[in-house]
Symmetry: C2
């Protein structure tokens, strides 16, 4: 599953297993899955066009849809292209179910046991003969009818209780969390939760129907903290000088805006789970991060936390809590725990590597059920940052590159002239350049027709000015190559050190799970060729998309998963990479291309 | 005990058992007690004058103080008069102790078991070899050293934890409440709690040393909500039209100011208990009060509540909670529960009446351990409001009146020419007027030398213009008399209805406990003579001052008392007075004077 968050006009609505679609206005995201892997043969990804332009109806659609459906503007998501802002209706049968949300071959056994439950209420009226305080009246009903003992009220519940209980319009339900009544709502009202993945670069917010466990909308955005530094370390530096308030507030504002857009009415959101790396976790709560920036990189807290959302300024239902999943260490956060949860690495007996590629890349190795994890400062190069013509994976980005006999083939998102290169494109390009020996083992651009020499260094022309949307050549510079070398060397060194910790070699790795948005778009073969991933058979690799977000969602709809996340966090053995005796050697070695 | 809260310049510092003194600037209040009842013979009310002017040293003081003490400006509080703003030091031996705070002959067996406790900490430093998150480090220490399991952190604790743990200046302690660490403080730092009694007319705030249970300062102020209505019903009306925010905010601001003045540093206050009538309780939390204003007068909640002080906007330590004692019903609030707690009526086997006289007067009757309570709308007349020359019991108020053979004797607070009459003065005056037959049984002023006839009705001249501080006669009007009749009739009817509920008569009442500031100043004999109190021997009456405030304090320093308060609230049988079938008859009857 990945998130397309920026006007995917012209892009085919993806409906690969676990894919996520958005309407082009970005107002709501709806996950749909097909069972045929996008081959346009199963007809399961039915949607109805409400307004907006899409490509003409195809033969496949005519075969797979009924005449009535076609008359009613039903289409198959996988077969059409979006040509304008688009509003679509997703019939319930096309929405992914909980099992389908899981991105691995084997899906977790999910018992739907959310922390939040809802109970219909019908209270006796208070009278002079039998005077009852409103709360005690409610408490008594919930005890007599449902067996709840020792319930306590949220303070904001009390503030609205009297008017809610006296409102005769419709049936009401009490919303209960553990021993606390956190709200009263109309029984017919939607009952939603939100899961949030706070990435260093990207934010992903999932709107989930609590009673069914279905994800009904997803929304993504850039992390606005980027304005204060692109990677975790530069944000920590910023916080050291300026405190955490600005970093916290801009993040909070964006999250509140995303929730408002996703839900229309944030009051419907009665529970929230959050994952992120430890620094993002700390900044979200307003914890200091200074001590994360220097050895021994101590977090303030690693255990899971339950805090009233209003205490942290997140605008959802007044009585709602936020559950922050547990961290492991200063540079292994709750997002990693959530990834291990969603991918089920926590219970595999196979030798498995889990990699979540981002601005910081976390790597876990599970050997015989024992898990060790470390964090590599891979930087934002794979997200297109720090690269001359780098850009996010949105319209106009070169996402695939093939170079053969001096002929360059590339694929641009949106099938339009390119404006830049995204992470997967730059990785492909460098891998192809290396295979063509246009760059040597140490990463230096060689003399070549397409290599020009500028004052600032050599550049490889990927798309000439006339083929590009911008008024110049789109190039891969010597500096770009070095940035990618640094990034891949950090990850590669991390993997090798973990293998050495357990005394196993590459060949013994039975499975590699690649998580993260970039990890999903990556061409694994090219990644192996530049030495980013171990050189093992391709069929041992799985690309799972935003597993951290899925883990956050699992914790939203299941008490059991919250508890498992706690177990994972305390089980994972943290390996400190920067001070590891073998790091420098491994890193220097990994800087080279195979 | 009562509170003198307005510049008692010229006033003798009271040191009767349970009295409270303030410096004249009103900056801090210090309770002192003597053991001789103010007879200037025990020498226990020693204080040291820091600056300000007081009357010259007396013979008693010369006998009771050592030469060294006199040289060091020690004085006996009971013997001197304050002549200017005054700053005094109260030596610990002069401060009342917990037992002495109790205002009844028999004091409660108090086990000092506060909800908040403090534990010295000394943590292992985190290192690269043994990296520890700060919270987990603290948690482990508290578990290993003190046996605490499953502790959880307050979110604001986490926000300051890292800097506190890394501060090497002095020893630190963790402040723990149940399973929550609510703060870290220097071990040497004071460790205070606050108890608040929110009266309809007056606020009283007690600063208590939690580890010793000592009240170290008390401060009072008018309830600023008076601007929106003098009694509970008029504030409810105001809230119906304008919402509760204004009422809540002005109260909160005044309380925050009082706490700031009392403590100098509100951050030292780690626990708070609050009592008040149900409407004050609701307005403090921001609960609606509309439903309290109409039958069946349902409160939103009666059970005790524990809420983070910061959630309610009370400025104390970041992690501190407020414990709101439980209410009984719409017009029997936590202040009544606290009164029953402090006076020990809850465990007496004697037939006992407890009366807390205020703008609303609550009456409890305990018969064989069964307690029934009701509330009478007595109005603010006894507090001097609604009376032509009524005023608070402060300097210049006539507080005692004697009339014999057309000669009027009165005592003025501060021994200065009078500016008005306070509650006890008006009660005395009316009682004396009735005894002199200057008013008849129905309360009508008769023809008399000192009765003048004005357009607005008759008036009795209590102090002539030339004897008063104001430029006119100080009078008791026909209207004043009628106001007092209404007030005393409400209370008297309440008492009679309770007696009838249990089928006992006046003579069977073994004890009457009179609480409240006015109740302490009242002349019981005169009160009996106007029919306010049952006509039983004087020695069955006890005047205990602000028992509600004492109850709040007991709950602050003892878990057991919190639990007893909960038991009391659920045991007390509420009797609805206004709709009681016998109320009208009893009330009409009680309007007459005996």
């Amino acid at each position: 599953m990945y998130i397309i968050d920026f006007e995917p006009i012209g892009l085919r609505i993806p409906c690969m297993k676990g894919d996520t679609v958005f309407n082009a206005a970005g107002k709501a995201g709806i996950p749909i899955i097909s069972y045929c892997g996008g081959k346009m043969i199963c007809g399961r990804c039915k949607i109805r066009i409400i307004n907006g332009n899409v490509s003409a109806i195809s033969t496949n659609e005519k075969n797979l849809l009924s005449e009535e459906e076609i008359a009613n503007n039903y289409r198959l998501a996988c077969t059409m292209r979006v040509l304008s802002d688009l509003k679509v209706e997703i019939p319930p049968e096309s929405l992914e179910t909980i099992q389908q949300l899981q991105l691995l071959g084997k899906e977790p056994q999910l018992s739907l046991d959310p922390v939040i439950t809802k109970y219909k209420i019908k209270l006796q009226e208070s009278s002079l003969e039998n005077p009852l305080a409103d709360w005690e009246n409610l408490q008594k009903f919930l005890k007599d009818k449902y067996g709840f003992k020792n319930l306590r009220p949220d303070i904001t519940l009390l503030q609205n209780l009297s008017s809610n209980l006296r409102n005769k319009n419709g049936e009401y339900s009490a919303i209960i969390r553990d021993d606390e009544v956190i709200g009263i709502t109309k029984s017919a009202e939607d009952f939603h939760g939100i899961s949030i993945d706070i990435g260093t670069t990207k934010l992903a917010v999932y709107l989930v129907e609590i009673h069914s466990g279905q994800t009904i909308a997803i929304k993504g955005a850039m992390n606005p903290q980027i304005a204060y530094g692109e990677d975790v370390m530069s944000r920590i530096s910023y916080a050291m000088e300026n405190g955490v308030d600005q970093l916290r507030n801009c993040l909070l504002n964006t999250l509140n805006q995303l929730i408002q857009e996703l839900t229309g009415n944030p009051e419907k959101v009665v529970d929230v789970t959050i994952v992120g790396n430890t620094a993002m976790h700390h900044l979200f709560i307003g914890l200091p991060v200074i001590q994360l920036g220097r050895a021994p990189y101590s977090p303030v807290v690693v255990q899971s936390l339950d805090v009233k959302a209003r205490e942290l300024g997140l605008n959802v239902a007044q009585g709602a809590y936020i559950h922050l999943l547990p961290n492991v260490a200063g540079f292994i956060g709750a997002d990693h725990v959530a990834m291990l949860l969603a991918t089920e690495i926590y219970k595999t007996s196979k030798n498995t590597i889990g990699i979540d590629i981002g601005t910081n890349t976390e790597v876990a190795l599970s050997v015989n059920g024992d898990i060790a994890s470390l964090s590599c400062a891979s930087g934002p190069a794979f997200e297109g940052a720090g690269i001359k013509h780098g850009m996010r994976a949105s319209n106009g980005a070169i996402e695939e590159v093939n170079i053969k006999n001096n002929k360059i083939d590339f694929k641009v998102i949106g099938d339009i002239p390119p404006t830049g290169i995204c992470g997967s494109g730059i990785l492909d390009a460098i891998s192809q350049l290396r295979q063509q020996k246009i760059i040597d083992q140490r990463g230096r651009l060689q003399d070549h027709d397409l290599v020009s020499k500028k004052k600032s260094g050599r550049e490889f022309i990927l798309a000439s000015k006339k083929n590009s949307e911008i008024e110049k050549d789109i190039v891969v510079t010597q500096h770009d190559i070095n940035e990618i070398q640094l990034a891949k060397a950090a990850i590669c060194a991390g993997i090798n050190i973990l293998l050495q910790e357990y005394g196993i070699n590459e060949e013994e790795i039975e499975k590699v799970v690649i998580a993260g948005a970039f990890g999903t778009r990556i061409n694994v073969e090219n990644a192996i060729k530049i030495g980013l991933f171990p050189s093992i058979p391709l069929n041992r690799f799985t690309q799972v998309g935003n597993a951290a977000g899925v883990g956050a969602k699992l914790a939203l709809i299941s008490k059991e998963y919250r508890s498992i996340a706690g177990d994972i966090a305390s089980r994972v053995r943290y390996v400190e990479l920067t001070t590891h005796p073998k790091f420098t050697r491994e890193f220097s070695h990994a800087l080279q291309f195979p």
